[in-house]
Each structure stands twice: as structure tokens, then as C-alpha cells.
């Protein structure tokens, strides 16, 4: 084989495999499926046309998430207001007490999660759900590592308050919706 036959892998070929995570991240930021899809579309175009700025060997997903979050915050600044949950993709405002009774319902968790400020939701999704290290998440968000740790901690504390997770509770995660997700994932929790 000649050297000229060896073609470097094109990271753009890997874009499709990151789309589900990218869309989930967009949904968690915007809480609106139409807005999330528009943001993912913008991110695809920006990533495609700026692929020369991606450093081979680095984390493509982190790069894509950074583009998406920059798009989100840029759009938020332009609108100067929070993006509304027009179609209720996450659910309506938390208006009732969580019904866990020793069990945490996934629907209650979704409602509580939606109450968090954007920055705390983002930090929890990056670190807690996607498994990025604190310093990776900090780099993606353009803040200090301590800021991300603080946001994650504040987010967890706020969720515990909203869900009334007290020390004395014997807590379980066992509602039918939750179990359906667990079953469909074969116990996988990413």
C-alpha cells in the first residue's frame, strides 16, 4: 500500500453516532423538542463546516456538545429570556408534592429537574448523565472546575429539596415507568 492510499479518518463520519446524545442534551437544555431539534440541526451544520477546527484525537462528543451549548446560550442571550416549554416535553410545573412515599417516581424527578436553573441542569447532564470529568465539563462550559462542582452540588441539593428526599426516608426507585426504562436498557444506565 502506498502512503497516498492511507486516508485519515473523517470525524464527520462519526457524527451520526453522537446524534442521540446530542439531541438528549439539547432537550435537557431547552425543554422543548422543536427548539432542541433546531439546535441540533444548527450544531450539525456548524460542526460540518468547521470540522477543520476539530483536533483529531480529542473528544468529538465534547466538541459537539460545546457547539450546541454555545448555540443555546447565544440564542438565550438574543431572546433575553428563558426558552419556554411550549409543548411540555418535560411536563408542567411542579405543583404537587412528590408522590414517592418511599419511592421516587421518574415523572416527579423530571418535573423537579425542569425547575433547576439552566447552568445546574447542564452541569448535572454533562457530569452525572454523560460521565464527563469535572475538568472536561468546565472546559466545555468555559468556567473553572470548581464552578462546575458547585453547580452539580447545588443541583443535587435542590433536587433533594424538591423531591423531599429526607434522611429518614427509605427510598426506592421502583415505579412502573422507571422499571420499563430499566428493562428496556437491560439495566444499563450509561
Amino acid at each position: 500500500m502506498m502512503v497516498s492510499d492511507i486516508k485519515a479518518a473523517d470525524p464527520r463520519d462519526e457524527l451520526p453516532e453522537h446524534l442521540p446524545a446530542l439531541r438528549a442534551f439539547a432537550l435537557s437544555l431547552t425543554r422543548n423538542s422543536a427548539t432542541a431539534d433546531d439546535m441540533v440541526q444548527d450544531t450539525i451544520v456548524k460542526a460540518w463546516t468547521n470540522i477543520d477546527k476539530f483536533q483529531a484525537g480529542t473528544n468529538l462528543r465534547a466538541w459537539l456538545f460545546t457547539i450546541l451549548r454555545n448555540t443555546f446560550y447565544s440564542s438565550r442571550r438574543k431572546l433575553n429570556r428563558e426558552v419556554a416549554d411550549i409543548d411540555g416535553v418535560f411536563t408542567e410545573t411542579l405543583s404537587v408534592k412528590p408522590s414517592h412515599d418511599g419511592r421516587l417516581q421518574l415523572a416527579d424527578f423530571r418535573k423537579a429537574f425542569e425547575q433547576l436553573p439552566d447552568e445546574q441542569r447542564e452541569a448535572l447532564i454533562l457530569v452525572g448523565a454523560n460521565g464527563f470529568a469535572y475538568d472536561e465539563a468546565a472546559e466545555m462550559c468555559g468556567v473553572a472546575t470548581g464552578t462546575i462542582k458547585s453547580r452539580v452540588n447545588r443541583g443535587r441539593n435542590r433536587l433533594a429539596e424538591l423531591l423531599e428526599l429526607n434522611d429518614d426516608d427509605a427510598l426506592e426507585l421502583t415505579d412502573s415507568a422507571t422499571m420499563a426504562v430499566v428493562s428496556s436498557n437491560g439495566g444499563r444506565t450509561h
Partner: protein
């Protein structure tokens, strides 16, 4: 006590983290709109066309 230093009990934290992963996994499992795949195909096609015109 600052928010950063205030900690919740490990069981509650574990429950929150597990729920977060489940909710996120649920969102990832949603069907993707066809327009994403169509967009990627279109971008690829446009690149192919510009490569061809550049070769001329």
C-alpha cells in the same frame, strides 16, 4: 454553610444520580427526526460536488 459544602445523604445522592441517568437514557432512546440524516446526506453531497468542481 455554602451550597458547595452542603451535602445530601449518599442514598439520596445515589437515587438522584440514577434517576438522572434513566431520564437521560430515555431521551436518548427517542426516535431521531429524519431531517438529521437527510441534512447529513445533503452536506455530504454538497461536499462531493465542490470536490468535483475543484478537481476540474
Amino acid at each position: 454553610m455554602s451550597d458547595q459544602k452542603k451535602t445530601i445523604n449518599p442514598r439520596a445522592q445515589s437515587l438522584i444520580d440514577d434517576s438522572l441517568k434513566l431520564v437521560y437514557a430515555d431521551m436518548q432512546d427517542e426516535a431521531l427526526p429524519d431531517r438529521f440524516v437527510e441534512l447529513l446526506s445533503k452536506l455530504k453531497e454538497q461536499d462531493g460536488q465542490s470536490d468535483q468542481s475543484g478537481d476540474k
